[in-house]
Every structure is written in C-alpha cells, then in structure tokens.
C-alpha cells in the first residue's frame, strides 16, 4: 500500500482483497442476496441486498451486480457532497451516512448498478466487503464469488468491470 488516497481514485498499482465476480459460474440461487440483507439489515430482502443477481429464466445467463471498488470510481466523482470515499487501507469505497443526502447521482453513475437507495432512510447503500470478510462469498457454493488479492487498477480488473457493465446494460435493454 502506498499513500493514503482519501476520497480520490487510485493512482498507482497496489493489491487489496476484492471480490471477483464470475457471472458464468452463477447458478442464480440468490443465497448471497439473502445472507447480505440478513447480516447487514437484519431482515431478508433482495432489494436491501448489496449484491444483486439478475436471473435469466430461459437460458440461465445470470448476472452479478456488485460494487467492483473501481480504481476510477465514477460514484466518488459524481458525489457533490463528498459522501463517497475510499478507505485508504482496504481500497473499499464507503458511504458516509452523515453526508449522503439521497440524491442518487452515484446510483446513476455506477457502471454496474451496484448502488441503491434505501427509501426509508433516504441514503444510499453499497457493498463495503463486510470489512474484509464478505459473507456472500462464504455461501457461494459455485465459486461465482471469490475473494482474492487484486490490483484495482489492473487491466484484468478494468476489463471485468467493462464486461459486467456491458452485459448488465444489455440485459436491462431486453
């Protein structure tokens, strides 16, 4: 780890533990969504989950929508209130509940649809990697979610984000 990055984006290469999503392995069981909402919101709900699975019914092309902790984080740039910041130690993008005003600019900016608005609290929520021990990964029995040392600025990571983003927009388009 080099310098403290504050709210900015990642400049130089370093490795942190991030979740790698492998949508082609996903079987669409959505246990990750249930465990996420249970541990973070103390209830079970797909809309309160930080991870979201889109199931295609006819062919089984499932897609995983989850914060990729992008090196060039559009969400951080989009936030006029400074409510989104990167944790300098973990590389994780976090929401400051005190600063968020629920404008949803980051929701629109996110290329993989991984930020959502909690309508009751009027603030956004997103994956924070459960502080380094993500529960969703532990219950994924098909290795569609894997935690591994990753360079967020690497070419592989960026192309994974681009691919996921493209697939999600195609799915939403029908």
């Amino acid at each position: 780890m080099s310098n403290a990055l504050g709210r900015g984006n990642i400049g130089e290469a370093f490795e942190v533990k991030l979740i790698e999503v492998r949508s082609s392995n996903c079987v669409g069981c959505r246990l990750c969504e249930m465990v996420c909402s249970l541990t973070r919101e103390h209830e079970c709900s797909t809309t309160k989950s930080r991870i979201k699975i889109f199931r295609d019914e006819e062919f089984g092309y499932n897609l995983i929508s989850l914060c990729m902790q992008c090196a060039d984080a559009y969400c951080i740039e989009s936030c006029a209130y400074g409510a989104l910041n990167r944790d300098s130690k973990t590389g994780t993008v976090l929401v400051d509940d005190q600063l968020c005003n629920g404008c949803e600019d980051c929701v629109v900016a996110c290329p993989v649809g991984a930020i959502a608005l909690d309508k009751e609290k009027d603030i956004v929520f997103k994956c924070d990697l459960c502080g380094g021990e993500p529960e969703c990964v532990k219950v994924c029995s098909r290795e569609a979610l894997i935690i591994k040392d990753t360079d967020p600025a690497s070419h592989e990571r960026k192309s994974l984000i681009a691919e996921t983003s493209k697939a999600l927009s195609q799915m939403e388009g029908g």
Binding site: S24, V27, G28, C29, R30, L31, M34, V35, S37, L38, T39, E41, H42, E43, C44, S45, T46, T47, K48, F54, R55, E57, E58, F59, G60, V139, S141, R142, M171
Partner: protein, 629 residues
Amino acid sequence: MYGWAGQRLKVYLTEGKIVKEPLSEEFRLNYLGGRGLNSKTLFDELKPDIDPLSPENILMLAVGPLNGTAAPASARWTITAKSVLTRGLGDGNGGGDFSAEMKFAGYDQIIFYGRSHKPVYLWINNDQVELRDAAHLWGKTTWETNHLLWKELGDRETRVLCIGPAGENLVPLAKVFANMTRTGGKGGMGAVMGSKNLKAVAVRGTGAVKIARPAEFFRAVKHAYEKLMASPFLRMFKEQGTLFLIRSASQWRALSTRNAQSGYFEGWEKLTSEAFESQYAVKHRGCFACPISCSHYYRVKEGPYATHGESNEYGTTYPFASKCGIDNLSAVLFMNTLCDQLGLDTHSCGNTISFAMDCWERGLLTAKDTDNLELKWGNVDAVIQLLPKIAYRQGFGNLLAEGSLKASKQINGSEACLRTVKGLEVSALYLGPVTNLAQALAYATSTRGADHLRGGVMLYSIGLSRLIEILGGEMAVKRMIEEPRSTEGKGVLVAFDQDFSAFFNSLEVCNWVVGQMHQALNPDDLAKLLSSCTGAEMTGDDLMRIGERIYNVERAFNIREGMGRKDDTLPRSFFVEEKTPWGPTGMSEDRFQEMLDEYYQFRGWDREGIPTQEKLKELGLGNIVEQLK
C-alpha cells in the same frame, strides 16, 4: 410478524373480487404454511363430493415461513385443490424462486374461488393486486406467457406461474409452471386452474421477510449450510442432480422399464447423468437460496431433437425413456421441453403413454384406435406426436388426456396394464425385487395417490434417532431398513416418513436437503431455523407432531370424499410373487394387508383406516370427528 408474511389473499373469480385477510395464529402454529396450510384450508372450505372441475373447487397456492429467507433450499411452493385424477386431495410442490417473490410481495397463501367468466390473470405488485384480462395469453404456451407478461408488465424480475394449453383444455395430466420450467401439481392442478379461466399469477415483490432473532437465525443458516456442504451424498448430488438415480436404480434393478414389466433397462447407460453432462448440460441452476443447485440448463444443438430448457430430472427421464423403451436422451430432453411448454406433467404423461404402449404390444390397441401411430416400445416419434395431441385433446390424445385409469375403462382388457394407486400413476420407482416393502406401503397410503415424495423411504428422510428412541433399540430399526423384504416395522417407518415430509413440505424446504440417510438436515435443524426466524419456539418433536396433524387432516379429507382401506392398495401386478435372477419380487396380498394393519394401528386409525376419535382429539382435531361419520 416474523417469518410469515402474515397475510393471505382470497380471490373470488366469479365476482372479480379480491380480499386480503390476516393469516391466523391457529394456522401458523398448527400447520406452518405451504402444504399444511393448503390441506387444512381444503378440508375446512371444500364441500364434499363436488366435481373437481366445477367452480366449487378451490385452488390454493401457498408458501411457508422460511421462503424468502437465507434458510438453505427454502424455495418450494405448494399448489392444492381437489384432484381431477384421484378425486381426493390433490397437490404439488415446485421450486424456482417464485415462492420468494410471493413472500416479498407480502403473501403466505392465495386462494382462488369460483370461475372467472373470461380468461384472466392475477397481477400482484406488492400490495396492489388486480385481476387482468388474459384473452391475449389464452392458447399460448407457458414460455410464451412468460415473455408476453414480462413485456406487458415491463419488468423481467416479475415471476410468473401459469398453465399451458393442456391446463386450458382441462387435461388431468396438466400441471402449473413457475419460472418457465419449475413445475408442481400432479393430479390435474393445471386443469383446475384452467377450469377457473385463470391463466397465470404474476408477482413482483420488493418487500422483506422480517427475522425474529437475526444473529441466531444466521448461525442456524450457517450451521445448515455447512452440514449440507459436508455431506458426501450432497456433494455428488450437487454435480449430478436427480439423474444420478438412473445409475442407482439400474443397479438396484428398480429402473421402471416398459410399463414396469421389469426393473432393468438395457439402454440405461445412454441415460445417465454422465451421458447428460458430457453431451447436453450447459450449466447448473439453483432454486432460491439453495447451495446445492442440482438442476441443469441443457441444449441439444442440432438434429431432429434440437431444443433447450431446464430441469430435466430423473422424473422426466425414466417415464419417457426406460418406461417407454426409449434410450435416446436427446429425444427425452425434447419431450421434457415440449411438456414444459404445453403445460404437461412428465410423470403422469410419460406413464400414461407407457400404459398405451403396453396395450399396443398386447394387441389391445391397433392403428385405427391410435390415429395410425405405431405405439411400439421405443417409438420416439410416436411419443413426440402424442404430446400435443394430449395437450389439445386431439384424436387418440383425447383418450390419454384423461390419465391411464380412465383411459383403461375404454380399452377392453387393459386393466392388467394399469400402474396406478387411487388413480394416480406410480412415480419414480419400479416396485421390484429390491424394493423396500416400506416404499410399497408408502405408495399405497400416500394421501395424493401413488407418490414417491410422501414417505420416500428408500431415498431420504428417516428420523433415525427418533425411531431408535421409540422402538427401543437400534437393532429393531436396522432390521426394518436392512431387511427390505420383511413386513415387520414397515408401518412405523412409513408413518414417520410421511409425518416428516408433511412438515418439511409445509416449511417449503426441498426434500433433497433433509433426512439423516444422507447426513442432511433433521427435524431439530429445521426447528432451529424456524424458531429463530419466526420467534415461535418449536422443537423437532413439535414439528413431527405438526406433520402428523397435517397427515391426519389430509387423510380425513380423503375419507370424507369416500376413500378408505379399499383405496390403500397397489397395482395388481405387484401382488404376484415371482423369483427373478436378482431376487424375489412382489408380495402376496395377505402380507400386504398385514403391513397395512400395522400401519393403521401405529397411526391410531381404525381397521378401515379412519382416524379414531382419540387420535384426532390428541392432535387438536376433535372438531372434525363428526365429519368422518
């Protein structure tokens, strides 16, 4: 309210009226949800002796307290009505993730009364519920219906449960379908839905299932998850799915072949999970919250049987394959997808066609009866041509559409070809040389007709430690299980297994993740999940007692419909004792009756199989005693 949504919908189709009402504590604590809730409602609300296809029948869809939570494999739903095939209790249990969506929308049960004067579908968008015109959907396949509704409702995350043309045409072999391919409702639930002019239920739910003690529930979830992942059986099952049974059943000489004339099919190696994996499987598919994800997507890329679909199970493969003498797996996959689209039950449909083939081979049917289809064993194309004929009731298909029992009444001398109990086709296993007699007893006494899922003694469940406790010693239990040809103790074994399945079906947890035989979840594990989820304190024993209550209510329903000891029997072919190279098969009727006596006695039923007053009172069902006289 924790666990349960706490609300049920009553949809009066004749009047076009929808009423929401709370789900009472009496129902929640005594019947849990799903199957139990439906069975009790059927007993309470249905008038005896009505025609199953009349507006007087009621159709119910229910989920349980664990659906829509992190409890592993809590994905099932149950559809219930009076059965068209058995004229007794009819229900079916399906997977996918429809059940979770229904919970997130806020409902435990939907009850349909009457008959709509025109085709409609029910649209549930959280608390907004309305009946909508379905003229444009009528006549469409299940898959077309899904696509049309997604387009109309503008949300691909909407989950659809619907019938195909078979249900619309009141075919008793029709089921209902959720998630395009996940099906339930043997005995004609699809036809009952069709008789109500109800094409589909579309649900979108964005709410939450509240959890009473989240941290404790999470620990119970983790415990259950780890237990399932550690089971060697489930590790195998996770890869192979139910098709592993083709190999096992072949080894046990229990793969029902050519209308159950034998338990060995010479072409079995072309049908195994290995053959499927290497040629047609695309990827796995999991039902909601299930870490096992045993189902597969498949694709036959080219050739006459090019197709794609999901969920080709053992229960599809053997009826169309070995049972019809067919060893072409790609053709079987084609038939599976076709049945899913037309809305047909692969079990009953394959078994009915197998019955017709048997009749043909014995010369009881000729080309002029069958619209010139040659129903010889192994004639793939004849089967494929028959499926739409059955769904649309065309020509010879119209006769088979009624199921094998009714069809046999029109075919002189065909009674010997029948493989039904209470009018429902025998599913899953061949009653053969190694058949545990407990399995035979389970088929005979199942509340919905011949059925491998209520007391599937050979396959799963068995609350072993409880049995040992009750019977006072491990040896007695071992003898019951390991001596499959002995009648001793089988009644106890079956009753236990039936109660077990009655409550886990009511929790709507999948039958593949329960049972001690393969080191999966036992009643205590399920009780921990349920208690921490709902806050209702229950032990494994409490759940077994609920299972017994449910089973007795179902039995009482069938008794009130005129069933009794005479109906607790097996196909005639089973009562012939034969020696085969693999061992003796069949049993005498006398030995069967002994087993039945023991079962009734352990159940607390009289000699006619009617629950006694004492038993009903003990189960808190004293108020239904009068109705059984």
